[in-house]
Amino acid sequence: MAGDQAARLVTPPMLVLFAVLATVPMWIESVGLFQYLGVEILIWVMYGLAFNLLMGTAGLVSFGHGAYFGIGAYAFGLAQFHLSANLWVGLVVAALAGAIAGLFVAAFISHRRGIYYAFMTIAFGQIFWTIAIKAYRVTGGEDGLLRIPRPPADFGVVSFDLADNRSLYYFVLAIFVIVLVAMWRLVNSPYGRVLAAIRQSETRAAHLGYPVWRYKLVAFAISALVSALAGGLFAMGQRAAFPDVMSVQQSGLIVMMVLVGGGLVSFWGPVIGVVVFIVARDVIGALTFAWMIYFGLLFMLIVLFRPEGIAGIARSLAARWR
């Protein structure tokens, strides 16, 4: 665990990833895909990294995490309509709304563990989803919030228009770089190490002097904050916020993506899982409406035979090759 690579703020695989991602708008259309797909992948990877701080690092499974993604989306839209049509205000409000909701939920569930913890996350997720549907005057109900503006990225001396998807992609990529580096640092910090200890034995961690519930509470709030930031970017990208992203089914998708990618054994699991899922959705989805059957089959095979996911398989192959 205490490898040289973990000590670096930015590692060589990160630099390769950032370099590849920087070129995506130049070739994505030539391979039959579209610009917005890149934006969507980056947003979902951020969401996956936030989710995996809980599942992969701390061993806390949240089956209702779509709620925080959705809260971020609505908060961004509502901030644009009612506070200020400003990108930074929207993103800060989105992240804060997610963090506050996360802290509120975590205060109730952090004393629980295992299946009880997981069920409580579903229950709270359902409450937020129901509020999003029923509070029609605020959220637009099942129709959602529509015509959310995409304000420019205004840095005072210079301003970038984000109306087209290519410029939006580079803006989201900049946020993605910050989030990925921050999550990497967090996972490899003393705090991340304590979370990993809690994953392995809450009892032992408590008897070493760590107030376990407080660590779980903070982890949940950070995860909700980053999920909501991703949700805010999603609302900006889609120019809308819908309640379906908060549903149990949508919350289940992020679990599937992270597990298939190998989030249980690798920091990179969410990155791999999201790319595989979204590309499969668009490539296989172009051939058949039943594309989810094939992804579901892949999910079952991985859970049954290689629970360490694609990242784990790649790691074993690399070890054999060496």
Binding site: M1, A2, G3, D4, R8, R185, P190, Q200, H207, G209
Partner: protein, 247 residues
């Protein structure tokens, strides 16, 4: 001077009384043994001592401060470290990382999210010193689950020692060890005993009688006998019980 003083510790699980007015005093620097048959309440007493179980009534004083009913993390921070009957290690961590997270210096930085662990040579050195103390220097980089049973037992003790405890509680440390492992553990505890106050629960009477300065016998949730190993050998209750044969 008494470092641990338990008075009238009573634990009830529903209708069942598990500990009944247990009094126990452990002076600073003593190696105190606790023995008794299975289900007698020995581990429950440890659980009360370390915060895992809240006593129904009674007090436990650590250096004069009542710690009964505090959470495990607060009791650990006050200086009581423990091992478990069923080994509880961080199996995905290396031996060094297991010890490192137990260091008070690491715990003080537990909410540090900005600095990396891997670059901190000071913590690694401290962890390696503790591993050397239990004879695991060569295993520092081995993942805990790949260690042998005896090495894992030694690592459990290293994790407890890393906390710089005022009191070290060992719950059946020889459990599952062969004769060689038990001998090595005997050597290890013999080497560290002068630096710590130690409370050991043990079924291996040869082990306990050769180490402990004083022993308390718990049966049916009560302390039925106490004294030095020599006194206990001649104790009427111990003589009559099955324990006396081994003692």
């Amino acid at each position: 001077m008494a470092l641990i003083e338990a008075t009238g510790v009573h634990v009830r699980f529903g209708e069942r009384v598990v500990l009944e007015d247990v009094d126990l005093v452990v002076p600073e620097g003593e190696l105190h043994g606790i023995m008794g048959p299975n289900g007698a309440g020995k581990t429950t007493f440890f659980n009360v001592l370390t915060g895992r179980v809240k006593p129904t009534r009674g007090a436990i004083r650590l250096g004069g401060e009542n710690i009964a009913g505090l959470s495990p993390d607060r009791i650990a921070a006050k200086g009581i470290a423990r091992s478990f009957q069923t080994m509880t290690l961080f199996d995905d961590f290396t031996a060094r990382d297991n010890v490192m997270v137990a260091l008070p210096a690491f715990r003080a930085r537990g909410f540090d999210m900005r600095h990396e662990v891997a670059g901190d040579a000071g913590l690694a050195t401290q962890a390696d010193d503790v591993l050397a103390c239990v004879g695991l220097s060569a295993k520092a980089k081995i993942v805990a689950r790949q260690l042998s049973y005896g090495e894992r037992r030694a690592l459990e003790i290293a994790v407890a020692l890393a906390q710089h405890p005022r009191v070290l509680c060992l719950d059946e440390p020889t459990s599952g060890l062969g004769s060689d492992g038990t001998r090595l553990l005997l050597d290890l505890i013999g080497r560290i005993r002068s630096r710590y106050t130690i409370v050991v629960i043990e079924h291996d009477m040869h082990f306990l009688f050769s180490l402990a300065e004083r022993i308390s016998v718990i049966h049916w949730g009560q302390v039925v006998a106490r004294g030095t190993p020599h006194e206990l050998r001649s104790n009427e209750w111990v003589q009559r019980s099955n324990l006396g044969r081994f003692a």
